[in-house]
């Protein structure tokens, strides 16, 4: 029994069958990659996991509880954090404030109207935020306006914001999309480090085979909305079905 169990999930958009009969199981503390050509339904599947979309059929269970019908903030409170394709951070806030918000969410739940307290008096949370910033080498940027940072820094900040909540499951949506080779390798190193040092399950949606094969313990190949094969990386590489699905694509 995996930490995340997706069973027979189907989703239609009008006449388009985006997902049908998707079943997959993500084992605890593994790194599970979902790959597939463009339009295979990877992002739709991810959106079904985080509450942005509700699948028409099937079930999604996280640690034995259904996530269907819950809103994104409730799903996050269950222990699932999501990193977006383009970094989603609070651009108008400083790096430090960006770190404080997930910490407040973790401590106080979905909302608490602490209108008279002062942020600067939350000593233990500030300490935690600084520790996390130190871990991702951003402590010197703590007073920076986060919108003015480079894309790589934004990505690191976003990951740090997710990690500081110590989620059980980290969902990554093409974390290296549009990145240069060097940045991609840095991200891979960062993710490897996260995987090794933390008690965390990672599910990653990725286009770049290099990233997938350096990280994943298990790979599901999605094509036209259905899982083609699910296997260990070494078996995926030469799989005829995968070759077929990716015909013409680099791998």
């Amino acid at each position: 029994m995996g930490i995340l169990e997706v069973k027979d999930v189907g989703k239609r958009f009008g006449g388009l069958k985006a997902l049908s009969d998707v079943t997959l199981s993500v084992a605890e503390n593994s790194c599970h990659a979902i790959i597939g050509p463009n339009g295979a339904g990877k992002s739709t599947l991810l959106n079904c996991l985080v509450g942005k979309l509700i699948p028409d059929t099937g079930s999604v269970m996280f640690q034995g509880q259904s996530v269907l019908g819950r809103s994104p903030h409730e799903i996050n409170q269950m222990g699932i954090s999501r990193v977006f394709q383009t970094p989603e951070i609070f651009g108008d806030l400083t790096v430090f404030e960006n770190m404080m918000i997930p910490l407040f969410a973790k401590r106080d739940g979905a909302y608490r109207l602490h209108a008279i307290e002062t942020v600067m008096n939350e000593k233990s949370l500030i300490e935690e935020a600084e520790k996390m910033l130190d871990e991702v080498n951003m402590l010197d940027k703590r007073h920076m306006h986060s919108a003015s940072m480079s894309r790589g820094d934004k990505r690191r900040l976003e990951m740090a914001m997710c990690l500081v909540q110590s989620p059980r499951l980290l969902l990554l949506d093409e974390p290296t999309a549009g990145m240069a080779r060097a940045d991609t390798n840095n991200t891979i190193d960062l993710l490897k480090q996260i995987k090794d040092e933390r008690d965390i399950t990672i599910a990653i949606i990725e286009h770049d085979m290099h990233v997938v094969f350096s990280l994943a313990d298990r790979i599901t190949v999605l094509a036209q909305g259905t899982p083609l094969v699910e296997d260990a990386p070494e078996n995926i590489k030469g799989h005829p079905k995968v070759q077929e699905a990716y015909l013409g694509e680099a791998h």
Partner: protein
């Protein structure tokens, strides 16, 4: 000080000093000089400065922090005024219960309107609030006449019950509003040479309430709640995926700003116990938007500055009529004098709106951060000049 850091304490202190010394600061010209008409230090106007300051501070908590642009905040101001006048009619002329009731009723009203309007964001939210406010205005004018006295406006009469006070004074007139006996209308004049300064109880009551409101606003800005509100403005999607529900936050901000508006409305009625439906009209809602943007949305002091600037223009700038202009330009030859007056005429007096519009356009285009940004730029300019100046640098002690 009071749980604020050094910078905020300084700001609060400066605002406190300015409001307390306002009767001096706003009356810089001797009473019988030609410039006396620019003196803004009379109680009625000073009260309006601070009351609209409160209104704008509250509006800024919603608009400046969360970015939700409400076009219906005057409704809460109006509701506050009506509640206060009813309190004067039924309970007593003490302003304290009246103001408390205004805040509570405006808060409840904001809860209902906010609950519905906040289901939408952006322009749809603005339109919903505008619709609600116009609806309130229309209702106050027509079907709610028993409550609002329709077109005439709600006024005090000699046969109001006033169960904790007197229906009429000994000499048969309507009693005046007071704070435990301290009459709001009471004022003393201080004459220093050619200058004259007026100190009114009403103004100081409003000023103290404004300072308390300002202090609370600073606390809200610096609180985790304030940070969440700014996060909502910045990226609601990320907030959702960070495990936070933005709805309770926006609703709380809406109710708080509605309560501020109610407080302003209550104070207005406390200074002059009547309430009319026109206080709820959309132009009044638009005015507070102008004040906030002109001063600097999202800044602490901006809304107060904006409120002051607009009220000053409305009351003082509008007094410059052709006679005054002719007086100013009398030194010019006749034809040129007439021409100059002709050119300036549309911008002053009744045309003050035109000047306000131009200033507003200039501020929005060149100073998106409002007057506050203007001030910051000037400060930065002088700081840089100082830093570049080797003379001033050499006077600094070496470390």
């Amino acid at each position: 000080m009071f749980g604020l850091d050094k910078k905020d304490s300084t700001l609060l202190l400066i605002v406190a000093l300015l409001t307390m010394l306002a009767p001096f600061i706003l009356n810089p010209f001797p009473t019988d000089s030609g410039l006396a008409q620019f003196n803004a230090g009379y109680p009625d106007l000073m009260q309006r400065f601070v009351i609209f300051g409160i209104f704008a501070i509250g509006f800024n908590i919603l608009f400046g922090l969360t970015g939700y642009l409400s076009f219906g905040h005057a409704a809460f101001l109006g509701v506050g005024s009506y509640s206060a006048v009813w309190m004067f009619k039924l309970l007593s002329m003490n302003i304290l219960p009246a103001i408390l009731l205004s805040v509570v009723i405006a808060g409840l009203f904001a809860l209902v309107i906010g609950f519905v309007s906040l289901r939408r964001t952006g322009i749809y939210f603005s339109i919903l609030t505008l619709a609600f406010a116009q609806m309130s205005f229309a209702l106050a004018y027509s079907v709610l006449t028993p409550l609002t006295n329709g077109e005439t406006g709600l006024q005090l009469t000699l046969d109001d019950p006033r169960i904790l006070g007197a229906s009429a004074t000994a000499d048969g007139s309507i009693p005046v509003t007071n704070l435990f006996g301290l009459e709001m209308r009471a004022a003393t004049d201080m004459v220093v040479g050619p200058w004259s300064f007026t100190f009114s109880v009403g103004y100081y009551v409003c000023a103290v309430v404004m300072l308390i409101s300002f202090y609370l606003a600073i606390r809200i800005f610096r609180s985790p709640f304030g940070m969440m509100l700014r996060a909502i403005k910045s990226n609601q999607q990320r907030l959702n995926y960070t495990g936070l529900n933005p709805k309770p936050y926006t609703l709380a901000a809406f109710v708080i700003s509605g309560m501020y508006a109610g407080l302003a409305g209550g104070l207005m009625a406390a200074m002059d116990p009547l309430a009319g439906a026109e206080r709820m009209q959309w132009t009044a809602s638009g005015e507070v938007v102008l004040m906030t943007i002109l001063g600097g949305a999202g800044t602490l002091i901006g809304p107060v500055l904006g409120a002051g600037a607009i009220k000053y223009m409305e009351n003082i700038f509008s007094k410059i009529n052709d006679n005054v202009l002719h007086g100013w330009f009398a030194f010019l030859p006749d034809g040129i004098e007439d021409f100059v007056v002709f050119v300036i005429h549309p911008f002053v007096g009744k045309g003050w709106h035109l000047t306000l519009g131009i200033i507003f356009m200039l501020v929005v285009t060149f100073l998106p951060g409002g007057l506050v940004e203007g001030g910051q730029r000037i400060a930065r300019f002088f700081n840089r000049k100082k830093a570049d100046d080797p003379k001033s640098a050499s006077t600094e002690p070496a470390e």
